[in-house]
Subunit: 421 residues, 2 copies
């Protein structure tokens, strides 16, 4: 490692370029916006160059989404984006004013002004590139960049938005673009926990978590960061810290490379998701091409299939297939499968939305055989039936009846020795 070029004359701390992100509860009203300005000023006073990414004031996005849906459930996604992006625009301007009021030079940046270029998938666009030139120029002049999160501009010159939690992604992407030394995500919790503290009182804050683990945690139900933001952090090796806006010195959680984590327990965290539904197709023909006949129409209908299990055929001719998707997509999935019934040739279709997914995650799993087996035994001891299993190198997910979620998460948290002493 090379040392930094510049150090703060008073503190000796290395002067860095940092990105900070504040979510909706952190900017929920004018007093909180003023508080955020003081947190930004703290970093500026340390000699850092700072880009801040802000969400809309808590409740604003829901209000704007509600209005749009109320007028038409079948609204044009480009208009949805135009309406909803106004929330972050307001916060960015207000924070720039609040910074100016305490003597910190600042300006707001909207997605189209930087620009933050995204795909054309309005409502859930992906960032394709951020031009860092203007931002870096102003940062170099000592001006704080207040960036409206959640938004970008698509090739059609229309405002795009990145989907719920998108400001996390804006922040990490901006950090990557300006080559920030780190990205601090300020939120209403003081870090990433071993599991949801509302379910397990003994949940512990993790001082560090590997990018790969965080990615699984986020995609398997932990709501602390948008999945896409972790992907970008991992891809560009942006050190990300999750911190509390209301207790910024509480320690937080650092997302880092696997190698930077010394003690590797078999399981780092437990995630769960209630947004699950299960569909079973009974007695489908056991022939080549049957999977394509089923999942093709689902993909066309925009259904994201998650776990899949196909039973061993009893007679070599007919078998059963079960898969899961988000609850909000269940009706669409059933419709697509009913339309495709002649092509598939199933005997019966059943569905269940009283299911949930519980997952154990840990990079240590690779070095510890028997981790999955311990999970199955723990659930079995509590009388919890496993409906579907899905595994990867660093996680095991099971689908269970929703009513057992809390019981399962608590039992696993103890079984893998994650409880606080």
């Amino acid at each position: 490692m090379y040392g930094p070029l510049v150090r703060n004359a008073q503190t000796g701390e290395a002067m860095a370029k940092i990105a900070m992100k504040f979510g909706g509860t952190s900017v929920a009203d004018l007093d909180r916006i003023r508080h955020v300005a003081t947190l930004v000023k703290r970093e500026v006073d340390r000699g850092h160059q700072v880009a801040v990414v802000v969400s809309a004031m808590a409740g604003e996005t829901n209000k704007l989404v509600g209005w749009t849906k109320d007028i038409s459930p079948l609204h044009d996604a480009r208009e949805y984006d135009t309406v909803v992006a106004a929330g972050e625009q307001v916060t960015a301007g207000l924070l720039a004013v609040a910074l100016g009021a305490i003597g910190v030079p600042a300006r707001s940046w909207l997605g189209w002004q930087i620009p933050i270029r995204t795909s054309a998938m309005h409502g859930s666009a992906r960032i394709e590139g951020i031009e860092p030139g203007l931002l870096n120029e102003r940062l170099g002049q000592g001006q704080v960049a207040v960036v409206a999160g959640f938004q970008g501009i698509a090739a059609d010159n229309r405002i795009s938005t990145l989907g719920r939690g998108g400001s996390d992604t804006s922040a990490v992407a901006v950090a990557a673009a300006i080559k920030a030394d780190r990205c601090d995500i300020y939120t209403d919790v003081d870090g990433v926990y071993t599991t949801d503290p509302r379910i397990v009182a003994k949940a512990r804050r993790l001082p560090k978590i590997a990018f790969e683990e965080m990615l699984e945690m986020a995609s398997l139900g932990a709501k602390v960061l948008q999945t896409r933001s972790v992907e970008i952090a991992m891809l560009y090796r942006v050190p990300v810290r999750v911190l509390s806006t209301f207790d910024p010195d509480a320690g937080g959680t650092l997302l880092c490379d696997e190698e930077d984590i010394v003690e590797k327990k078999p399981v780092t965290g437990i995630a769960y998701s209630r947004d699950e539904a299960k569909i079973s197709l009974m007695k489908i023909p056991d022939r080549p091409g049957i999977a394509a006949a089923i999942f093709g129409p689902l993909a066309d209908a925009g259904v994201n299939v998650d776990m899949i299990v196909q039973n061993v055929s009893e007679d070599g001719r007919r078998t059963d297939l079960t898969f899961t998707c988000a609850r909000s997509e269940l009706a669409r999935a059933l419709k697509a499968l009913e339309d495709a019934a002649p092509a598939i040739g199933y005997r019966e279709i059943t569905s269940d939305s009283n299911v949930a997914k519980v997952s154990i995650i840990g990079i240590g799993m690779r070095a510890h055989p028997g981790v999955a087996q311990a999970m199955f035994r723990t659930l079995s001891d509590k009388g919890i039936n496993i409906q579907v299993i899905s595994t990867s190198e660093i996680k095991v997910s099971v689908l269970i009846a929703e009513e057992y979620v809390e019981l399962a998460v608590r039992a696993l948290h103890s079984a893998y020795e994650l409880d606080t002493a």
Copy 2:
């Protein structure tokens, strides 16, 4: 006149290109936005190409302005514009959705997307040009353009706003740019009245008013249209109609060329403004350059001086000077004059903010001598003292004590035979 090229097959009505503008009370909630969509659809169904300009939902602009000022009274005007312009952005998107929901193809346009280029005077920018290419292309394809009013983009690529009432100006400027056949301003009153109906119950709606008269009415206190919008309408000869959103068939008022008005009464309307303050400088030296010594510092302080009267010097050496400005600028004006006291050399300075301006307006005045005299006599008969007088070819304004405003307006309304029968 050449006839129009295309007529509606059913009605025989000429197919036209029209601009429509809806103010804040017209789009105050989702139901009203839906109602506005039906008014737009009515014009589309008649075969017209339609550009709609919308204000923010009633109350939104005040809320956003309030937030900005609350955080810092000395905010950066560019951030103010960024925050405040969000209101129109939301309405534009919502109306586009509402139009889509009733089968009318539509898209929203923000100031920077068209673009509507403005001066750099953030907070009260002037439109410098509107590129009509994109709008005309889409209008030609039968798509309604929903334009966010009140906003544009300055040369620094920042959002600019046009000052209070700026959406009127956006509408007329868009109408001029796309060469619209007319611009319909929908508001919460059904037209322009001879005077404020809240003061004079017998006030009459004017079916027609000349551009020049409307310009005087607007700048002398009638709040129905922003002054700048009338200037642009006059300059580009855009026929403007003022109509009620809630009773769109009630007739309204047409702004037109003087020649199109047949019956020219001496006085068309009576305007008043309570936003007036008077400053008098006593015993100033009666020498060349004294006016520059007084009004230079005022201009530097951003004070807009309105009426001015200088007394005849009694001894050829000292005289008194009185002028008026907006009440909100009184403190600034006094400060500037006190700072400049040594250079001016007045003996005493007095001010009064309990004054108001009452004006009679009419193009017929040119052909009718004695109109001003009738005004002075009417006020004298009521015992109202005139403090300052200012005249132009088509108006006479007087400054009086504020407590006499209603009495003066009612007396003049009767004297010039404007009362309804």
